[in-house]
C-alpha cells in the first residue's frame, strides 16, 4: 500500500487539482484519514498475518512482549507444541492454582497487561522457544510514510472510508450523500473481506 498514491487519488474526489489546493482540509488531514482507515481495515479484516521471529524465553520467565503492532494472536507454540490461547479471565478463573506453578507452558494468556504483554502458563521450568502467528495493525502512515507491503485489496475500502471521513469533516458545503455512499460501499467491501478471511 502506498499512502501517497491513495492521497493523490483522494484529492480530485475532494474537488481539488492538487493537495495544496484543498479548501477544507490540510495535507495532514488527508494522511490522518488514510491512516485511520488503514488501521480500521487491517484490524477488521485481519489482512496482515505473519509469523514473526521466534522468541527465546528463559526459565522462570512467565511474561513475554508481543511483537510491535500485534492486534491478535492467531496461534502460538512452545517448542513446536501448540499452545491454547486464552484471555486473563480464563487464568483468573483457575483461582490460586496458577500462582507459582511451573512446567511446560500449555496456555498463552493474551491481554494479560496493558503493555502488549502475554503470559505463559505454567511458568516455564526451563528455557524454550515461543512461536507465534499474529495479525498485525497497519504501520503509521499519518505522517505520509508512504508504503508498506499489503494486499491491493485493502486500497478500495481505505480510499472510500477516508473519503467519507474527510467529507464528514466539512463545515460548509457538506456532501452527506458522498459520505453515506463512500461509507456504505466501504462497509460492504469490509463484510466481503471478513467473509473471506475470518
Amino acid at each position: 500500500m502506498n499512502a501517497a498514491t491513495l492521497a493523490a487519488e483522494l484529492v480530485p474526489m475532494l474537488n481539488a487539482a492538487n493537495i495544496g489546493e484543498l479548501v477544507y482540509w490540510t495535507e495532514a488531514d488527508v494522511y490522518a484519514a488514510i491512516h485511520g482507515a488503514a488501521r480500521q481495515v487491517c484490524d477488521a479484516a485481519g489482512v496482515l498475518v505473519t509469523e514473526p521471529a521466534s522468541i527465546s524465553v528463559n526459565a522462570d520467565q512467565s511474561t513475554v512482549s508481543l511483537p510491535a503492532r500485534t492486534s491478535a494472536v492467531l496461534a502460538a507454540a512452545w517448542d513446536d507444541s501448540d499452545l491454547r490461547i486464552v484471555g486473563p479471565k480464563y487464568l483468573e478463573s483457575m483461582a490460586n492454582v496458577w500462582k507459582g506453578k511451573k512446567g511446560d507452558p500449555r496456555l498463552l494468556v493474551v491481554g494479560y497487561d496493558t503493555t502488549q504483554g502475554a503470559r505463559l502458563f505454567p511458568t516455564p521450568a526451563g528455557p524454550g522457544t515461543l512461536r507465534l502467528i499474529v495479525s498485525q495493525a497497519s504501520p503509521d502512515v499519518s505522517q505520509g510514510a508512504p508504503s508498506f507491503t499489503a494486499p491491493a485489496v485493502i486500497d478500495t475500502p481505505i480510499v472510500l472510508r477516508a473519503l467519507g471521513r474527510l467529507r464528514a469533516q466539512e463545515t460548509e458545503a457538506r456532501m452527506p450523500d458522498v459520505e453515506v455512499f463512500a461509507e456504505s460501499i466501504a462497509a460492504a467491501h469490509m463484510r466481503v473481506l471478513e467473509a473471506m478471511w475470518r
Binding site: 496482515l48 463484510r191 466481503v192 467473509a195
Partner: protein, 221 residues
C-alpha cells in the same frame, strides 16, 4: 473493451468532453475506472489466475502477496497432488505439533489472510505449490489495456466509474447514480454466480461465497 473505450463511455455518461478538457480530467476518470475495477473484481472474484509459489524449507506460512500484490483468495492448491482446504482449528485438532517441519509435501492449505497461507505439514526441504486464486484485477494505464474480468462485464465498469467520479460534486444519491450503481452491483453478482457454476462452489468455500452475495445485496445508496 479497452481503457480508452470505457473512458469514452464514462465521459459520455458524465456529459463532459471526452478529451478530458472539461470538469473531469482523463486522469480522474481513469482512477475511477481502476477503483471500480478493483471493487468489481474483489466482490465478484472474477479475475482468476494460476501461479507457482515457492516454499522455503520448514516454512509454516507462505505470503502470496509478496509474489503477487493483487492476490485475494486461494481457490485450489496443488503440490504433489491436490491439497485440501482446511481451517486452523482443523489442523490444530489433527496435529498439535503441526509447527514441526516434516519430510513430506504439504497436503492441507489454510487461508489465514491474503498475506498468509498456512501449510500442513510444513515441508522440511521446501517445495513449490501451484495455486489457482482470485485476485484484484490489475490497474489499467495504457489506452489499449483491457480489464482482466470477463468482457460481458466491461460496460458495468463504466457504470461504477461514473458514480465514483461524482464524488467530486456530491450527487451520488441522484436517480441516475442509483440506476448505474444498481447495474454495477447486479453485474458483479452475475459474475460471481457464473464463477461458482464454472469452477464449483467446493473450491470457493461455499458459505463464504454465500456471505459475499448477501453482503452485495445489502449495498445501497
Amino acid at each position: 473493451m479497452t481503457l480508452s473505450e470505457i473512458r469514452g463511455d464514462v465521459f459520455r455518461r458524465l456529459g463532459v468532453p471526452s478529451d478530458g478538457s472539461g470538469y473531469y480530467t482523463a486522469a480522474e476518470v481513469t482512477a475511477a475506472i481502476n477503483r471500480a475495477l478493483s471493487l468489481f473484481s474483489t466482490i465478484s472474484l472474477s479475475s482468476v489466475r494460476t501461479q507457482d509459489f515457492s516454499v522455503s524449507p520448514a516454512a509454516l506460512l507462505i505470503n502470496p502477496v509478496a509474489t503477487d500484490p493483487m492476490f485475494l483468495l486461494p481457490l485450489n492448491a496443488y503440490c504433489s497432488g491436490e491439497m485440501s482446504m482446511g481451517t486452523l482449528r482443523d489442523v490444530q485438532a489433527r496435529d498439535p505439533r503441526f509447527w514441526t517441519a516434516r519430510p513430506a509435501d504439504p497436503e492441507v492449505f489454510v487461508p489465514l489472510a491474503p498475506t498468509a497461507i498456512l501449510l500442513y505439514p510444513a515441508p522440511a526441504l521446501g517445495t513449490t505449490i501451484s495455486i489457482r486464486y482470485a485476485r484484484v484485477a490489475p490497474t489499467l494505464s495504457s489506452a489499449s489495456d483491457v480489464p482482466d474480468v470477463p468482457a460481458e462485464f466491461h460496460a458495468a465498469l463504466a457504470d461504477g466509474a461514473a458514480v465514483l467520479c461524482r464524488a467530486k460534486v456530491g450527487y451520488q444519491g441522484d436517480t441516475r447514480s442509483r440506476i448505474e450503481w444498481g447495474r454495477f452491483m447486479e453485474a458483479a453478482q452475475r459474475a460471481l454466480q457464473g464463477l461458482a457454476e464454472r469452477i464449483g462452489q467446493r473450491s470457493m468455500k461455499a458459505k463464504e461465497v454465500e456471505a459475499v452475495l448477501q453482503s452485495m445485496a445489502r449495498i445501497s445508496i
